[in-house]
Structures are given as structure tokens and as C-alpha cells.
Symmetry: C2
Subunit: 145 residues, 2 copies
């Protein structure tokens, strides 16, 4: 399961990416419209800013706005930022590799082999899912109904 932090982050990003212009949006606006606890959201937005995805403006008329283009931000990136590794086993991650202590021979581990496949497929799907595409998907789903 992904953490609430990641989920909130994605929701906030989609919300910001949906704005017509790129004017700053107040934290309290995002918080209320997306049902995210405000103080919790503050920390999340800060992290997104540090990651170079968002930027902020202080003072009256301030708030957060997109720095990167929606197409350049995908769910794999956001998940890694808040939850760390995407893989289900530490021994099949790109960025957070760790040997399984109890493992006898990693090279010939059939279990690892399976989870390696799972990770590859998952990352592939999550990378394809950028903010622009997610918004398009919403449009499609609305048309179906």
C-alpha cells in the first residue's frame, strides 16, 4: 500500500496541474478542496518544492504552483519521493538495494526472479502515468459514464 502522504501528494499535484493558469494556489485552498489535513499538507508541499516539482510564492496572492510541466512528473517519481522503493523486495530495487539477510544465494533465487519481474512491470506502468495522462484518464472515465 502507498502511504497517505503519497496519495495526498498525487492529489495535490493533479489539482495544481488542472488549474487553467499557473497562478499560486493557497495551501488552505488545496487542503479544503482535496480533503487533506492542512498541516500535513504543508510538509508534503515543502517536499515537492525541494524536489523541484513545485515552487511557492509568499505574501498576499501567494501559494504553490507547478514548476515542472505536468507531463514531466510521473507517479513512479512521486512514489519514490515519499515512500522510497517501489519494488516489493529490497534485493530488486534500483535505488535502495539491500541484500536479504537470510538469503542463501541471491543469484539463483527463484523468488527474487519473480519479484524482479513484478517490479519491472510496475515501474513501467507508473512511469507512463504522468500528470497529464492522469487528467486525460479522468476525462475518459467521465465520458464513459
Amino acid at each position: 500500500m502507498i502511504s497517505k502522504k503519497t496519495k495526498y501528494a498525487i492529489n495535490a499535484l493533479v489539482y495544481l496541474a488542472k488549474q487553467d493558469n499557473n497562478n499560486p494556489i493557497r495551501i488552505s485552498d488545496i487542503s479544503e478542496s482535496q480533503n487533506i489535513p492542512q498541516k500535513f499538507l504543508e510538509a508534503i508541499l515543502l517536499d515537492l518544492k525541494k524536489a523541484g516539482i513545485l515552487a511557492s510564492k509568499k505574501g498576499k496572492g501567494g501559494g504553490y504552483y507547478m514548476l515542472k510541466a505536468p507531463k514531466e512528473i510521473n507517479l513512479a517519481e512521486v512514489m519514490r519521493l515519499f515512500d522510497g522503493a517501489i519494488a516489493l523486495l529490497p534485493c530488486v530495487t534500483y535505488n535502495y538495494y539491500e541484500r536479504c539477510e537470510e538469503c542463501i544465494d541471491e543469484e539463483t533465487c527463484g523468488i527474487r526472479d519473480v519479484f524482479y519481474e513484478v517490479r519491472n512491470k510496475t515501474v513501467e506502468l507508473l512511469k507512463k502515468a504522468d500528470l497529464e495522462q492522469i487528467i486525460k484518464r479522468e476525462g475518459n472515465l467521465k465520458n464513459i459514464i
Copy 2:
């Protein structure tokens, strides 16, 4: 990430499935050969027994042995048994569905749409991975080296 419990369970199952005959194996044997803390392993084996995957025999010459055929046990089943849902969002699980509290419209949620795909692919891959196949994979990996 899957829990150690799940990982230990899989390792113990593969170990038991590899035995030539289906004689009972002592907990202490599994524990030592697979580097799993014995007391922790006891609880895991009990769960696997309750799930109808293993059976046990008490007294001298006793231990745990396979009840189901290795081909009938796949990683999706084991993961669900110990870690619960496989999906990354509660709103896209088969067996543990829960609405996201903060969600505004589930039906048209683009994020959900993505994670729905990820879950389907993951479950597909994990279901294909039964114990027999895992053991075959190990054989293949050994031949490559």
C-alpha cells in the same frame, strides 16, 4: 515492500516443496537451513497450516510437510495470507476494498485507474508464480551461471 513474515513463509514453503519425499521436517531444521528465527517461524508455519497449505505431525519423527501440491500454491496466495491486500490503494483491492476517505469521485479517479492496472498486472504475475515454477526458475538460473 513485503514483510519478513511473507518472505520467511515463501522460503520455508520452497524448502519444503524441494524435499524428495514428503516426510515431516522439524521446525528447527527449517529454521537453521533457511536462517529464520525459530520462534518466529513457528507462528508462520502455524498460519500456513491453518490455511490448509501445510500439515504437521507431532512427537518423534514429527515436523511439517506439504499438504497441498507445490503447483497449487502461488505467491499471490501467500502474500495475501500474511500481508493482506496486494494492491497499492485500498480502493482497487478485490478482497479488502475500502473507500479512500479524501476521495471526491472514485468512478472518475484517474489515479485509481492507474493503480487498478498495476494491481491487475501484479496479481497476474504473482499467480503464475507457484512453488513448482519457482523451483524451476532456480534451476534455470543455476544453468545460466
